[in-house]
């Protein structure tokens, strides 16, 4: 994972949390929504009041709702016994979020990406699961952005 651009103190925390979130998902892919969940548990962002449990539940609701929209109700599907990869690779949504975070870092004249900058990169997605999940969790993206 391209975490070399991160500020030292955030790198380890973010990388570990991201691995954990993606592994729990079982697909061997790190998506932008996994970055969001990882950052929600980051001590440096505690003041934002992002609740990890609440976001995880909103993410699950987003999934159920998206499936229901095409008429698929998938309940109580058993879980596979183990995830696909213990070292998940970055999916496009996560790469784009990190790229946006890097641009914000450069624009702010900072040398390394902080957790704040990465979160901005994550929530600045116009489409996809992150904005849909934040909306379901009733989090005002504009307000959150202003605090970063």
């Amino acid at each position: 994972m391209p975490f070399q651009h991160f500020a030292k103190d955030t790198r380890a925390v973010v990388a570990a949390a991201v691995r954990e979130e993606a592994a729990a998902d079982g697909r061997g892919l790190v998506e932008a929504e996994h970055l969001l969940l990882a950052l929600a548990g980051n001590p440096q962002l505690q003041h934002l009041g992002l609740d990890h449990e609440e976001l995880a539940s909103a993410l699950a609701r987003e999934e159920a709702q998206s499936l229901a929209a095409v008429g698929v109700v998938a309940e109580e599907l058993p879980r596979a016994s183990s995830p696909r990869s213990s070292s998940p690779r970055l999916a496009t949504s996560a790469k784009l979020a990190i790229e946006r975070g890097a641009k914000i870092t450069a624009k702010r004249g900072q040398r390394q990406m902080t957790a704040q900058n990465l979160l901005l990169g994550v929530i600045n997605a116009e489409h996809g699961r992150v904005p849909r999940t934040l909306q379901l969790a009733e989090i005002d993206i504009g307000e959150l952005r202003a605090r970063l």
Binding site: E63, A69, V70, G71, V72, V73, S81, R84
Partner: protein, 74 residues
């Protein structure tokens, strides 16, 4: 339980989100199906044929994951 009466939502954002959700659902079904097939003694070549993909593709996705189940079969 999976209940289907397929419809396509009018809002493209919802329709596109459904595509992603269906892909993730398909992956989950695949993981469980492959796991059960391996437990029942299917080889990766047989699973690959049933899925219509190469044996290498099945191995790449599942062999590490199912290392414990497949240990005594290969």
């Amino acid at each position: 339980m999976i209940d289907t009466q397929l419809t396509i939502p009018d809002d493209p954002a919802d329709a596109l989100a459904a595509v992603g959700a269906l892909r993730r659902l398909a992956d989950r079904v695949e993981d469980i199906a492959v796991e059960r097939a391996v437990a029942d003694g299917w080889s990766f070549a047989q699973i690959a044929e049933a899925l219509g993909v190469t044996r290498q593709a099945v191995q790449k996705k599942h062999s590490r994951r199912l290392a414990n189940t497949t240990k005594h079969r290969r």
